[in-house]
């Protein structure tokens, strides 16, 4: 016999666990002067879920064996307050089951391109191999002795300590999605940070994780196992309006889009979980937020009116782009960061770097940089302060004609890192000193040096959204637009290698239920299409002698998505096909999936995602090898570059091609098939 509501009957053991896990939240609630959670007006209602997600990746083998236990608990606390908590803990066995790809045994010794090899002498390098090999090992590039031999001051600082930065546990930057093809590359440590500390930096939740933290990502110092924990209440006001408040760790969803975001930027995203392929609800990173809605209801001209204020008072967190060495590293950015950080700390070999001799097209020598010459030095994560909190306001309404719209404004911190080039405190590898001290460039300020600090700038956003239906077309239309001020983009035309640009993002989506007899005669198939447009204002591009200089991102780009989702057997079986096309990247993904609800409590999902790209030459962009920070040593053109630093535009796939490839193009070699089982206890 089941009682009404038995579907959600509390389970005492689970409840005890929930209460013990929620102890921290209770403290937080007390801080917010919330009612005592233990003296509620109704019993706890809790659901417990287990999920296993197993994925196999082409060429990499097992790419995910994630086991998740999730508890969702609700309680009416009395006096109108309601509490909800979602506790999530997962353990991903991929790091042990496929340790040679993602765990302690990942990576190995590497070799890097050395396109100048035919022009180079067979002199021995620090790695013990001759310099004139087309592929040299890490440590096999131009070092102090070789540089001295070719005429640089003996004080030059080329070369690094291979004992501190050995050729092991490495992969070549970008090898997950492209070949070096004459561009720059370097070794990237890929093992967990408790196995290999090289290049580990905390980028705000990733980048410095040890094995156990990669395996169980929710159990960290931000207490991410408290996935959501909040209290809410609606206060009726005398004039019939309402004040709704919701306090705690939560997701606040703005916007009306799927897959990609325009307005929905309050919570950062954890792309390390499954790149862009998980539902946003599962990969938004909940933040401690106070939100209040003044629900005014109808007026003489509007059917509904609401003003929402969202105060994200949590300590800043950016998007989790994935730690290098883990299965999901969106844009391969985490690998670039880790490799660069290692270069700063320990130095390293950079493929195809030095123009020896200058001006010989296609001939660049692998070069061993020393510590503190190039790379990523420091990540400036905004500390908690009142001025670093984030604030949003939304007015949302429905006109009497039925047009639903919102007007949004948000001041927040960029959830993506911005790399600011600096020069003070760097070592000039050609002299061993600091800055330009060699005539005739003596005293010329160093700029465009590929040494970076990472910042998360403040961004201000204004935007809006609307939706309506077109009855004659049997379709619902949704639109969003957002204009941001403060976003930063890499820009090789600028001294600091970045510029601040305003950005307009828009999307139009069409949802149409369509009866497709081949799929079902009684249940409509959802066809949902979206077209995203991003425009970067004041987009800077110049033609240099060797290529284009400026912002690698496309000035205008379009991404189209198409979802076809069918429902069969009483919605217990749901096949779907999701496709996305990044037009300028010429990259495409198709993700078929079928869900089967075996019972009310047990669901099995089979799926795959395949990526395609039409070549990668269009991703190549000025890689700042030819940015000439240390004239006259860094001249790349036969005619010589002026002593005023500036990039000649020599291009390669790294490091900026990732911004042109986008999340689909940069994952082109990561075709996954997967099975997910989910059971509700």
């Amino acid at each position: 016999m089941k009682a009404a509501g038995d579907f959600s009957r509390p389970k005492l053991g689970v409840l005890a666990t929930a209460l013990s896990l929620a102890a921290g939240a209770q403290a937080q609630a007390a801080d917010e002067n919330l009612p005592d959670l233990g003296s509620g007006a109704s019993p706890w209602v809790a659901d417990v879920y287990y999920e296993n997600h197993t994925a196999r990746r082409h060429d990499a083998g097992l790419a995910k064996f994630r086991n998740t236990l999730q508890l969702e608990a609700d309680k009416q606390m009395g006096d109108g307050w309601a509490f909800r908590g979602i506790l999530r803990g997962s353990w991903d066995g991929v790091y042990r089951l496929n340790r040679d790809e993602y765990g302690r045994g990942a990576g190995g010794p590497i070799e890097l391109e050395n396109t100048a090899a035919p022009l180079l002498p067979p002199v021995p390098t620090s790695a013990g191999t001759p310099l004139n090999r087309p592929l040299v090992p890490h440590g096999g590039g131009i070092n102090n002795a070789i540089a001295t031999a070719i005429g640089l001051p003996p004080t030059n600082a080329f070369g690094f300590d291979l004992a501190a930065n050995p050729n092991d546990g490495m992969r070549v930057l970008g090898d997950r999605w492209h070949r070096t093809e004459g561009g720059v590359a370097f070794g990237v440590p890929v093992r967990p940070c408790d196995t290999d500390k090289r290049g580990c930096r905390d980028f705000g939740g990733y980048g410095d994780l040890k094995l156990s933290e990669l395996e169980a990502p929710e159990f960290n110092d931000r207490l991410d196992f408290l996935r959501e924990i909040y209290a809410k209440k609606t206060f009726p006001l005398a004039d019939g309006t309402e004040l709704f408040v919701k306090l705690g760790r939560q997701q606040v969803v703005w916007g009306r889009t799927d897959l990609f975001r325009v307005l929905d930027v309050i919570n950062p995203i954890d792309y390390s979980r499954n790149n862009i392929y998980d539902e946003l609800q599962d990969i938004r990173i909940p933040m401690w937020i106070a939100q209040a809605e003044y629900r005014m209801g109808a007026s003489d001209v509007m059917q509904d009116r609401n003003v929402q204020v969202v105060w994200n008072f949590d300590k800043f967190r950016p998007n989790n782009l994935g730690q290098c060495g883990s299965p999901n590293v969106i844009l391969d950015a985490g690998c670039f960061f880790r490799g660069m950080a290692n270069l700063w700390d320990n130095g390293g070999t950079v493929a195809n770097f030095a123009a020896v001799p200058p001006g010989t097209a296609g001939a660049w020598a692998a070069t061993d940089f020393g510590p503190h010459q190039i790379g990523i030095r420091k990540v400036y994560l905004p500390e908690w302060s009142l001025s670093n909190t984030q604030l949003g306001v939304k007015y949302e309404g429905i006109t009497k004609e039925g047009l639903a719209f919102s007007l949004n404004a948000l001041t927040y911190r960029s959830q993506l890192p911005s790399l600011h080039a600096f020069s003070a405190g760097t070592v000039n590898p050609f002299t061993g000193g600091s800055g330009n001290t060699t005539p005739p460039a003596d005293g010329v300020p160093v700029s465009r040096l590929i040494a970076f600090d990472v910042h998360y700038p403040r961004v201000n956003l204004i935007g809006g959204s609307l939706d309506f239906q077109i009855p004659d077309a049997n379709a619902a239309i949704r639109m969003e637009a957002a204009l941001t001020h403060g976003e930063e983009f890499q820009n090789t035309a600028r001294r600091e290698l970045f510029s601040e640009n305003r950005v307009l993002r828009t999307v139009i989506g069409v949802d149409r239920p369509t009866f497709i007899p081949l799929i079902s005669k009684t249940r409509a198939t959802l066809i949902s299409a979206q077209l995203f447009w991003q425009h970067i204002f004041d987009h800077e591009r110049h033609d240099g002698p060797l290529g284009t200089v400026g912002i690698p991102d496309w000035e205008d780009n379009f991404i189209g998505t198409l979802l076809i989702k069918g429902f069969l057997a009483g919605d217990r079986v749901s096949p779907q096909l999701m496709m996305a096309r990044d037009f300028r990247a010429k990259a495409f993904t198709i993700a078929p999936q079928i869900e089967w609800s075996v019972s009310d409590d047990f669901k099995v999902t089979l799926g795959a995602n395949f990526k395609y790209a039409n070549g990668d030459s269009h991703y190549k962009f000025d890689d700042t090898r030819s940015a000439n920070p240390y004239p006259p040593f860094t001249t790349y053109t036969a005619a010589g570059q002026p002593f005023v630093p500036g990039s000649a535009g020599l291009e390669g796939l790294e490091p900026l091609g990732r911004f042109r490839a986008g999340p689909i193009g940069a994952a082109v070699a990561e075709d996954d098939i997967y099975v997910t089982i989910r059971y509700k206890f």
């Binding site: 016999m1 089941k2 009682a3 009404a4 509501g5 579907f7 959600s8 879920y49 909800r84 609606t234 969803v253 916007g255 009306r256 799927d258 929905d264 539902e279 946003l280 609800q281 809605e293 629900r295 209801g297 109808a298 007026s299 509007m302 059917q303 509904d304 609401n306 949302e396 429905i398 009497k400 004609e401 039925g402 639903a404 939706d467 309506f468 239906q469 009855p471 049997n474 379709a475 619902a476 949704r478 949802d511 149409r512 239920p513 369509t514 009866f515 079902s520 005669k521 009684t522 249940r523 409509a524 057997a569 009483g570 919605d571 217990r572 609800s597 009310d600 409590d601 989910r678 509700k680």
Partner: protein
């Protein structure tokens, strides 16, 4: 000038003919409409309380069985028990409003247009088979029927998807349904309307899914306009997406959450009058699923803390409510979609004359073959929860939508609660959906 006025008169006459003329229903009409059993109840040979009609004797009762029910009795899928015919008196406020406004309402020029309606039953007079728009008038009586009153909640509301052959319950869904009227309100404050109401909404339905896991926290809001020519607005909040999606109107003819019922099937017909052509097909006495809830043998499957029990189901595949059936006066109305691409070719509604409830509906597919049978069990409110007693609201209490082609059914067990506190107007705002979890 004379010709001019003559022309005007002809036009006026033509319009009047097209739109229907004012016809002041008499007191007798109204009495007959709301109290058809005051002097006598319908009778038919052998149809007495306690009679069991089954495969063996159905031929004796063909005259009082609708074709859908008869089909299943004949096939041995179910046997039914006759109950005593009783009056389901509608709330006095509704009857009084009908009296006060009698003769003020008429059909407009086009289907979906109604002129002069204030409250109560728009057309209480007996339908006239010679009136080409009699079916449309009955459709208006249904639309502006007492139905759920000014506001009511079904909470909880259990649905089961069943295989009729195997009897296997394939899926359980737990809902809460909430209904509110914005206009023509009679028995809950504020009356006669909720204001401001700039969109001129007539009615809204809010649905919240509690279980199972894959659709948990799905919410649906349907807003119907006073202007029947205006399309409904519908919004869907998907728990796994945490955002509201506007629905296109086409989804009202979609199998709702994979069940055998579409949104348009709710309550017998849940759409615009102007989307259909309506034909009155006659008035007969038929066995209808009207009963006293507390007198039924109820299910032990769910047990509410307040002791409330739900209607049990039996018969083939568990597709039939275990209730008694009353011999009642019924108007037969046929609706055919205007849209030639509609998945339904026509519906035949068996509308209870006293309550205007469409408690039996046959649905035909585009080929014209019988597709689905909808049974909507109605209980007297005085034989239900304490808060429903004396409400004068005839309560929907159990439903079954049987797909006779797929041999499949969806059943529903209601706990209807006529409690204004459960239907605050703010519940029916889109923002309320976003403010959830």
């Amino acid at each position: 000038m004379t010709r001019y006025f003559a022309g005007r008169s002809l036009i006026a006459l033509a319009l009047a003919c097209a739109a229907g003329t004012l016809h002041a229903a008499t007191e007798a009409d109204i009495d007959k409409s709301f109290f058809p059993y005051k002097s006598a109840v319908p009778t038919a040979a052998g149809v007495t309380a306690g009679t069991v009609i089954n495969k063996g004797n159905f031929a004796n009762f063909e005259a009082v069985l609708d074709p859908g029910l008869q089909r299943h009795i004949q096939a041995g899928a179910v046997e039914i028990t006759v109950g005593k015919t009783t009056s389901f008196d509608i709330d006095k406020s509704y009857v009084d409003a009908t009296r006060e406004n009698a003769g003020k309402v008429k059909l407009g020029a086009k289907p979906g247009e109604l002129v002069g309606y204030v409250a109560g039953r728009p057309f209480p007079e007996e339908p006239d088979a010679k009136d080409p728009r009699a079916g449309e008038k009955l459709a208006w009586n249904f639309r502006y029927g007492m139905n759920w009153g000014d506001g009511l909640a079904i909470s909880p509301f259990y649905w089961k998807y069943r295989n009729m052959d195997s009897g296997k319950v394939e899926r359980n869904i737990l809902f809460n349904f909430h209904f509110i009227k914005y206009t023509h309100r009679l028995n809950q404050v504020p009356t006669p309307e909720i204001s401001p109401n700039p969109s001129k909404l007539y009615r809204a339905t809010y649905v919240n899914v509690q279980e199972p896991q894959d659709v948990k926290n799905t919410q649906l809001l349907i807003q119907r306009y006073e202007d029947d020519l205006k399309q409904d607005d519908a919004y869907l909040y998907l728990g796994f997406q945490r955002r509201v999606r506007r629905l296109s109107t086409g989804q009202t003819t979609d199998a709702f959450l994979g069940s055998d019922i579409m949104i348009e099937d709710f309550e017998g017909y849940n759409g615009r009058i102007s989307d259909m052509t309506w034909k009155y097909k006659g008035t007969v006495n038929l066995l209808m699923p009207f009963y006293n809830h507390n007198d039924m043998k109820l299910s032990e499957e769910y047990k509410d803390p307040d002791g409330y029990k739900y209607v049990a189901f039996g018969g083939q595949g568990g597709c039939f409510p275990n209730i008694t059936w009353q011999l009642r006066k019924v108007h037969i109305v046929e609706s055919a979609p205007v849209d030639p691409n509609h998945p339904v070719s026509r519906r035949v509604h068996y509308m209870d004359a006293q309550t205007s409830a469409m408690s039996e509906t046959l649905v035909y597919d585009r080929k014209g073959d019988l597709w689905k049978i909808f049974m909507l069990g109605m209980t007297h409110p005085d034989s239900h929860l304490a808060q429903n007693k004396g409400s004068g609201i005839v309560l929907f209490d159990a439903f079954s939508m049987i797909d006779v082609q797929a041999k499949h059914c969806t059943t529903g067990q209601f706990k209807g609660q006529a409690d204004a506190k459960m239907v605050p107007v703010n519940l029916f705002n889109v923002q309320n959906m976003r403010g959830g979890n």
